[in-house]
């Protein structure tokens, strides 16, 4: 394998393990430990993508999370993963990635025509162009914008990978394992604190991996290895690599995404792809380091122009040369370190330093190595389209305004260094207002807002000695606040080369007559001219400039561009940077996959699934289930080729003719106990409760304080101070909270306790004319005659040895009973009912038949009690006591609630007696009236009446009580139906209620 740009015996990749991968369909080789970026550079590949707007060729700019260019799409196990940074993604055997934002290929991209039309794509292009005519939006503009927007394509298939969430607590979270992170972690761990040290990259050490320093007589790399090994051996320390702390939230909650399997060919058994950590830390030390700033010059986006620190890291960590004729363009000493590294590897760099006559240890060393250095020199423009081929360079005047002696020199890469920008994102997210540090021309964190401190270069400290000392101190201080162990370790001696001040110059002026694009934001193609235009057009606030020009937006969030953008705005406005301020830093610091945020809460795991104890019986008997809140309920029991309609009709008919049984376990059940229980119910329900005798049930309606019906159900007095309340399935949790609210906060003087017993009881409703006969057989010792167990009566008895509670209540309108047994006996009860019921033609019925039965009877449910209706509207006004006060009563006196033409519950039947009326249809007088057609009401629930064998619906319509007999229309624009209907009573079947009392 020959890799033209791979150095021998340099770097940390595993030369023993060769790995093949595909980029744009072509096979390449790299080594274990390579990223896609380092492996491609080793193979001499620098063209990896096209820019967002102009489709200009894009290479590699950085070596980590700040990468604005090399965004690729990964195809893994037939699934697409867009927005992969080539500088972060490690290669694995069989990896396939491809370029995005180019067509037909990265080498020949049609969209690059935008580059020649760039005068037509100024800042604010979208706002100026896609304004009119309005009719163009749907068919022309939106599809165009959608096609042009974004990098890569998300998969529309279900993501089969597993993502997990983890909750963790610690004394101290340290975000980054550079020198400050390692030092503080070590100091705090030795002082007994529970420490989590998180490193975004696969390797620990941060800048120690690439800088030529000495700590405690060891190289930076050796010291890193020693500290990490010791930290890993300590039980109070968690050390995590490939883990990015990306968000700092309230009360010291931080969120970290750990990439567990992203670098592996296949997700390992028992290991998720990624894990999201929610970390509640007592203290946080932010050691997120700093990112090198670019210098701005003509065509500075050409592939081959990259950060000088990146070039150094490619050499030192990956053993890869980014070029063989490098030009180093710098305004500070960092560029020299890169030049020295090139020289050591046998490559001759040329340094262009914007400073006129700097001197420091590093500069002396470069001079001693005979590196060519040109002071007061700048790169005017990079030349070359898909790769840098040469550069126009020039001498610059002392006032940095004039260029002299422009000449062209050959080079194959330009490494730029415009000094360093501290990564203050996490501190800023915590609420820490930043301050501008003149010395480093960048923002640093100000006063701590939460329990956080920023250390190292993230805090603008750029000498190792100071960093290490400060980090040891901070590690001890914050840990000692918690552990109070006073165990202080000594600070090692540090040897480093001294550097001198940087030059504040950062943007090369255009030579006369030239109009090179000088880019500030590389991901979004924002050039100096775009910012100038935005300011000319009157944008002043930096937040507005950002949104208008897209400076600092997209996946890299301007990690390399923000500060230069601010600098430019300040220069034009004749302000200083702190006056302009910076845009808000918001989480996440780096893109996080949606899968990781969702975690395991996908599909059936997105909410708990509750099943009744009889669930397996339903399954065995061909039940088709429906979600009812978190419960799974049988919707119908399929026989032969039946569909929903036929099955539910058969089941409902059997209830009306023989007897049916329905699983009602899901109903909310609340035990209400205490000497004041009756008084409490009397305040909660609209009707009277004080005189309900023991052994009797009553139907009740409860309101919210605003007078709207909240829920309904029956409550039974089990004994003197014990009531069994039932709620609807959907409202069970809300009702319990509601009761607790009044007992704990409003009427604490009432001696009452409430507790949910929903899961304690399994329930079966037995309904139909044969139900008493069935009950006699189920409970042979019990008097179940109409006198012995009258309507709304309650009895306890044994069901074949199992204690049971029998409530004579009915939702179907038939003679009916509800039997409750302890949940563990639910299956037994159900089987017994089915077995004994056989001779009475018993059939189980599901929720669909249940609905049919209640709709025919005009019994209201959730579709009528929809959070908009007062008792009157649902024809429940008979249950509203005039004598006593209760929750929400005062609201019923409001004028709108006492108005006589309020919408009210009615029944409707299609005049042709055959056309079903879609639920949600509007009731109107004249279907041909001019729009908007005045709406009289809406259809709340529809069924096929099994009693009369025609469609029947419930509706809530204006002045309903005076509308009976009227002929109106039900319109469903959604289903494109207009159905002539007649208004009838909502009590369609058995209006006198004889059956339930029979």
């Amino acid at each position: 394998m020959s890799q033209d740009f791979r150095l021998d015996n340099v770097g940390m990749v595993n030369r023993e393990k060769k790995i093949s991968f595909k980029f744009n369909g072509k096979k390449y080789f790299g080594f274990e430990g390579d990223t896609i970026a380092s492996a491609l550079i080793a193979n001499g590949v620098h063209l990896v993508g096209r820019s967002f707007k102009y489709h200009r060729p894009r290479g590699f700019f950085g070596v980590g999370v700040d990468e604005p260019y090399a965004i690729l799409q990964l195809d893994r196990n037939n699934e697409r993963d867009p927005n992969i940074r080539a500088t972060e993604q490690e290669i694995f055997e069989g990896l396939e990635v491809k370029s995005v934002n180019c067509w037909p290929s990265v080498n020949f991209d049609i969209g690059a025509i935008n580059n020649f039309l760039k005068m037509f794509f100024p800042a604010g292009f979208y706002y100026k162009t896609f304004m009119w005519p309005p009719s163009f939006w749907y068919k022309i503009y939106e599809p165009f914008i959608r096609m042009a927007a974004g990098f890569g394509e998300a998969s529309i298939k279900h993501d089969k990978e597993r993502y997990e969430h983890k909750y963790e607590y610690c004394d101290l979270l340290i975000t980054g394992s550079g020198p400050s992170g390692l030092a503080s972690a070590y100091a705090a761990a030795k002082n007994g604190a529970r420490v989590i040290l998180a490193e975004d990259k696969p390797r620990f050490g941060g800048s120690l991996l690439t800088s030529d320093v000495n700590i405690g007589n060891q190289t930076g790399v050796e010291w890193t290895e020693k500290i990490i090994a010791e930290l890993k051996s300590m039980p109070n320390v968690t050390v995590k690599n490939r883990s990015q702390v990306f968000g700092y939230y309230d009360h010291n909650m931080l969120v970290m995404s750990e990439r567990i399997s992203d670098h592996l060919p296949k997700t390992q058994k028992y290991l998720p792809k990624q894990r999201l950590w929610y970390i509640r830390a007592n203290e946080v030390l932010i050691s997120s380091g700093s990112i090198e700033r670019p210098l701005v010059f003509g065509n500075n986006d050409t592939p081959g122009v990259m950060l000088s620190s990146a070039a150094k890291e490619y050499m030192k960590v990956y053993g890869v040369l980014v070029g063989k004729k490098p030009l180093i363009f710098t305004n500070n000493d960092s560029g020299y370190e890169t030049a020295i590294e090139f020289k050591k590897n046998g490559v001759n760099p040329i340094i262009l330093d914007t400073r006129s006559n700097p001197s420091s240890d590093i500069i002396t060393e470069a001079k001693n190595l005979n590196i060519e250095i040109k002071f007061s020199y700048v790169v005017v423009a990079a030349k070359g389209y898909k790769k840098v081929k040469s550069a126009d360079i020039a001498k610059i005047s002392d006032d940095k305004k004039e260029l002299f002696n422009i000449e062209n020199i050959k080079c194959d890469c330009i490494c730029v260094s415009g000094f360093w920008t501290p990564s203050i994102h996490l501190a800023s997210q915590s609420g820490n207002k930043s301050k501008f540090n003149e010395k480093i021309d960048a923002f640093v964190p100000d006063k701590s807002k939460q329990q956080e401190n920023t250390i190292g270069s993230a805090n603008g400290i750029f000498t190792l000695e100071e960093t290490i000392k400060d980090a040891f101190d901070k590690g001890f201080d914050v840990s000692n606040k918690i552990t109070e162990k006073n165990n202080k370790v000594s600070v090692p001696t540090v040897v480093e080369k001294k550097s001198t001040d940087h030059d504040k110059f950062w943007c090369v002026p255009l030579p006369k007559g030239k109009s090179y694009k000088r880019f500030l934001d590389f991901q979004n193609d924002v050039a100096v001219s775009d910012i100038e235009l935005a300011l000319r057009e009157g944008f002043r606030s930096i937040e507005h400039v950002k949104r208008y020009t897209t400076l600092g937006m997209a996946t890299d969030q301007g990690k390399t561009s923000n500060l230069n953008g601010l600098q430019l705005v300040s220069d034009i406005e004749n302000k200083v940077v702190p006056q302009v301020g910076h845009t808000t830093f918001r989480p996440p610091y780096t893109p996080v996959s949606i899968g990781a945020i969702v975690g395991r809460e996908v599909g059936k795991h997105s909410k708990p699934t509750r099943k009744s104890p009889m669930h397996s019986w339903h399954e065995k008997n061909n039940a088709v289930f429906v979600d009812a809140g978190v419960w799974l309920r049988p919707r119908y029991y399929k026989q032969g080729n039946e569909g929903l309609f036929e099955a539910s009709k058969r089941e409902a008919k059997n209830v009306r003719q023989n007897v049916g049984v329905c699983d009602v376990t899901t109903l909310g059940k609340i035990d209400v106990k205490g000497p004041d229980a009756a008084e409490f119910l009397n305040r909660v329900y609209t009707n009277a409760w004080l005189k309900l005798p023991v052994g009797k049930a009553r139907y009740g309606v409860m309101l919210r304080e605003d007078g709207i019906v909240m829920d309904d159900g029956t409550t039974t007095r089990i004994s003197e101070n014990h009531y069994h309340m039932t709620t609807t399935t959907a409202q069970a949790a809300n009702v319990l909270s509601h009761l607790e609210y009044y007992l704990q906060l409003v009427w604490p003087e009432l001696n009452v306790n409430v507790v949910s017993t929903t899961e304690q009881w399994a329930g079966a409703a037995i309904a139909g004319p044969n139900s008493r006969k069935l009950l006699m057989k189920l409970f042979p010792d019990l008097d179940v005659s109409n006198e012995g167990l009258p309507f709304m009566g309650y009895k306890e008895a044994d069901l074949f040895g199992v204690p049971a509670k029998i409530y004579r209540i009915s939702f179907s309108g038939e003679l009916a009973y509800e039997i409750n047994v302890e949940s563990d006996n639910g299956y037994f009860m159900w089987e017994k009912i089915m077995e004994v019921g056989q001779e009475f033609q018993i059939q189980p019925y599901g929720t669909e038949a249940l609905s049919t039965l209640r709709i025919e009877m005009g019994h209201v449910a959730g579709s009528e009690l929809d959070g908009r209706t007062i008792p009157y509207d649902a024809s429940l006004e008979g249950l509203v006591s005039k004598k006593k006060d209760f929750i929400g009563k005062r609201s019923l006196n409001r004028s709108a609630f006492t108005s006589t033409d309020r919408e009210k519950l009615v029944g409707i039947v299609p005049i042709d007696k055959t056309t079903s009326i879609p639920e949600g249809s509007y009731i109107v007088k004249d279907p041909k009236a001019k729009l908007p057609n005045p709406k009289l009401g809406h259809v709340s629930a529809s069924c096929w009446s099994v009693e009369y064998d025609n469609p029947f619906s419930l509706a809530i319509i204006k002045d309903g009580k005076n509308m009976i007999g009227q002929k109106l229309f039900a319109m469903s624009p959604l289903k494109n139906k207009t159905i002539p209907v007649e208004i009838v009573s909502s009590h369609y079947v058995d209006p006198e209620g004889k059956r339930v009392r029979s």
Binding site: Y249, H251, M253, Y278, E740, P748, R890
Partner: protein
């Protein structure tokens, strides 16, 4: 995510709680004659101060007690928490 000190259970994460609104509202006594305006104020009118505010939270996935939390609505700082009927300082 807030870290709320439940007076019954200790420090717990916000996801165990449900927000219950303004804790300074007092329900008018039962059977008391009051004006529409007074009732309206009770049902609908809530202060939404920037800064210190006394709020109700329900420890719904914990002890199921309603508690009162004194919180800064702009900084989210929590100053003190109270049991349902504890006297407010």
């Amino acid at each position: 995510m807030l870290y709320i000190n439940c007076p019954h259970c200790g420090l717990r994460s916000q996801n165990e709680f449900a927000y219950g609104g303004d804790a300074t509202v007092k329900r008018p006594e039962l059977n008391k004659e009051i004006s529409d305006q007074e009732w309206d104020n009770f049902v609908y009118l809530r202060k939404s101060p920037r800064g210190k505010h006394l709020e109700l939270w329900h420890h719904i996935s914990g002890c199921r007690q309603w508690i009162k939390v004194e919180r800064d609505t702009s900084t989210h700082e929590i100053f003190k928490t109270y049991k349902a009927n504890e006297a407010i300082e």
